[in-house]
């Protein structure tokens, strides 16, 4: 019997259309897999079994009746818990929203429902997406399926681990400084941060509004392309939503799958490599570049001198915006309330009990960065650096079609290793943050396993704003070249998880 959880989303969609499997069978197979392994992995905060099976049964009935169905109809999906889902708990990994049932769907949730995809559940994350390991989730960390003692990345560690553990073929993530790409890198999966505004943020619980972007996560480039086209596009409910149509992600991924890169100039970002990058990460990155050269790509080096300030700028802009966005959690309209004599004391007691340490650190930092007398020195300087970073990217893209780097300087570290050292934790995002500051799209795909620890390494591809299709063309080509070299997808090399009885 076929184990459908090992198939790609594209294969599932084809098999559903050909009548080789039903959506109920697919959905049940994933629910069974979740029941078997999620006790150890903890990728999910909420399992939505009943509704998922009802959606699947309705898709099967419509298909049997000969109805026209969307491309991914019947293919199950997990949604990061930062995205609101009507009738399903949404916590963003925080105690302050424990038990909250949103009264409306995010635009992305609505689009997933309209695509007739059974929603398996909500995936775990660092509280309000603040973190790189899921250790800041109020509900306990997610474990990396490659080594359960290691981090699955963050903030979207749940969405990435669910893919690597074959608990879901597709998931939704959110990327403010790397929260889609960094987890993809450390779990051997694929994640895409679209151009800022390419996917509606309506109903995504805001962390830093000028940086946040929702995007697709999968095990293959084509699968993320298929999901990108489901969730992308203009939304009048989000004033920052791009008015242009969704980029031709699927066509670009299919074109790239030939493995031909003739005519493509690839720019290696000098500043995102070298010191601080693990040997095995660098080795797999260089090997990927060699494959791209053999496939016809021209590889050049580009310089982005302002990137040395990107991390500092990010950790001023993000806390400033977050401190404002999180002011709505005040114990008045939804979520936790710790009752005190006055409403002001109620707010302070509620936020003290409801927020974890990382959220408190960043709110306090943001309050400081925005305070009178410090605004120009901190927030103003950071916004100027943001301009410099955009200019660096513009100059680099004048020399290359896409820019590349390792996604993360290291393979996944052990749970607990950096929990008391926020700065060490922040360094994990050093290569992913520049794209958010500039608003450009980025992808991470697996580049192999580091020889020294046999853990996944990631390859990052960046494209100019609005040119998301280039990620899929180049990403699919590199994936095809690597898969041919490995003799199969990297995900098939992951160790078998122990199955609970």
């Amino acid at each position: 019997m076929t184990d459908w959880t090992r198939a790609t989303a594209a294969q599932m969609a084809d098999a559903l259309a050909a009548g080789e499997v039903t959506s109920v069978e697919l959905t049940q197979a994933h629910l069974d897999r979740i029941a078997a392994v999620d006790g150890d992995v903890h990728a999910f905060l909420h399992i939505n079994a009943e509704e998922a099976l009802a959606t699947a049964a309705a898709v099967d009935a419509d298909r049997a009746a000969g109805a026209e169905l969307p491309a991914l109809a019947g293919v199950p999906i997990g949604i990061k818990d930062v995205v609101v889902t009507e009738g399903m708990p949404t916590t963003a990994g925080s105690r302050i929203l424990e038990g909250w049932i949103p009264p409306y769907d995010a635009t992305v949730t609505r689009k997933v429902r309209e695509a007739r995809m059974p929603i398996l559940g909500k995936t775990n994350m660092d509280e309000f997406a603040m973190g790189s390991s899921t250790e800041h989730s109020a509900y306990g960390p997610t474990h990396n399926p490659w080594d359960l003692e290691r981090i699955p990345g963050g903030s979207g560690g749940g969405s990435a681990a669910a893919l690597a553990a074959f608990e879901a073929p597709l998931t939704i993530g959110s990327d403010t400084g790397g929260s889609i790409r960094q987890p993809a890198s450390v779990t051997g999966t694929v994640g895409v941060k679209p151009t800022y505004g390419g996917v509606s943020r309506f109903g995504a619980i805001a962390l830093a509004s000028s940086l946040d972007q929702l995007g697709p996560c999968g095990r293959t480039v084509l699968d993320t392309a298929l999901l990108h086209e489901v969730i992308g596009g203009h939304d009048p409910h989000d004033a920052t939503s791009l008015p242009e149509p969704v980029p031709g992600a699927v066509a670009a991924a299919r074109e790239g799958a030939s493995g031909d890169l003739s005519g493509v100039t690839v720019g290696v970002i000098h500043e995102l490599g070298g010191e601080g990058y693990q040997d095995g990460v660098k080795q797999r990155f260089e090997e990927s570049l060699d494959l791209m050269r053999e496939a016809g790509a021209k590889v050049v080096e580009v310089h982005c001198p302002s990137f040395q300030y990107a991390l500092a700028a990010y950790y001023l802009i993000l806390p400033a915006e977050a401190s404002s966005n999180l002011a709505k959690f005040d114990g008045v309209r939804f979520g936790l309330r710790v009752e005190r004599e006055t409403v002001e004391r109620t707010m302070a007691a509620t936020r003290a009990q409801g927020f974890g340490d990382e959220v408190k650190r960043r709110i306090i930092l943001g309050t400081y960065a925005l305070s009178a007398g410090y605004y120009d020195a901190y927030y103003g300087s950071a916004q100027k650096v943001r301009t410099l970073i955009q200019r660096d990217f513009a100059a680099a893209f004048a020399q290359a079609d896409v820019l590349v780097s390792p996604t993360v300087p290291t393979t996944p570290f052990k749970l607990g290793e950096r929990i008391d050292d926020p700065l060490a934790m922040y360094l994990n995002d050093v290569a992913t943050i520049p794209a958010n500051l500039a608003g450009i799209p980025g992808m991470s795909l697996p580049s192999g396993l580091a020889p020294e620890d046999n853990l996944p390494t990631g390859f990052q591809i960046l494209a100019p704003a609005h040119e998301d299709a280039r990620l899929y063309r180049v990403g699919a080509a590199l994936e095809a070249l690597l898969t041919a070299k490995w003799g199969g997808p990297l995900s098939s090399l992951a160790p078998e998880l122990e199955v609970a009885r």
């Binding site: 000028s210 302002s306 309209r333 939804f334 408190k360 305070s371 901190y378 300087s381 301009t387 410099l388």
Partner: protein
């Protein structure tokens, strides 16, 4: 660039409406100060002629058609409230004794 001491962190937490115990301040003050020291490297990096960027993809005057759309009913909007009464959110007294 100035550093933050324990009293500064206590004052900022009060401004941000987060109660802090002595233990919280002991644990968080040093960490926050280390982060401030790390981000303070930015001062003076960009000259006065460099414009600020507040938004990655500039857009202005975004409007949509002024049409009535379905919205939440009062019952839906209040469903998750810690306390509600007469179609309103109910809260403790707004002003303290000293006000």
């Amino acid at each position: 660039m100035s550093s933050l001491d324990r009293a500064d962190v206590a004052r900022l937490a009060a401004l941000a409406r987060i109660d802090m115990t002595d233990d919280d301040l002991d644990r968080l003050s040093g960490q926050i100060n280390a982060i401030v020291d790390a981000v303070a490297t930015l001062d003076g990096v960009a000259g006065p002629d460099i414009p600020t960027t507040s938004h990655p993809i500039p857009m202005a005057n975004v409007v949509r058609e002024d049409v009535v759309e379905p919205s939440l009913t009062p019952a839906q909007a209040l469903a998750a409230a810690p306390q509600a009464e007469d179609d309103r959110f109910r809260v403790p007294q707004i002003l303290g004794e000293e006000a």
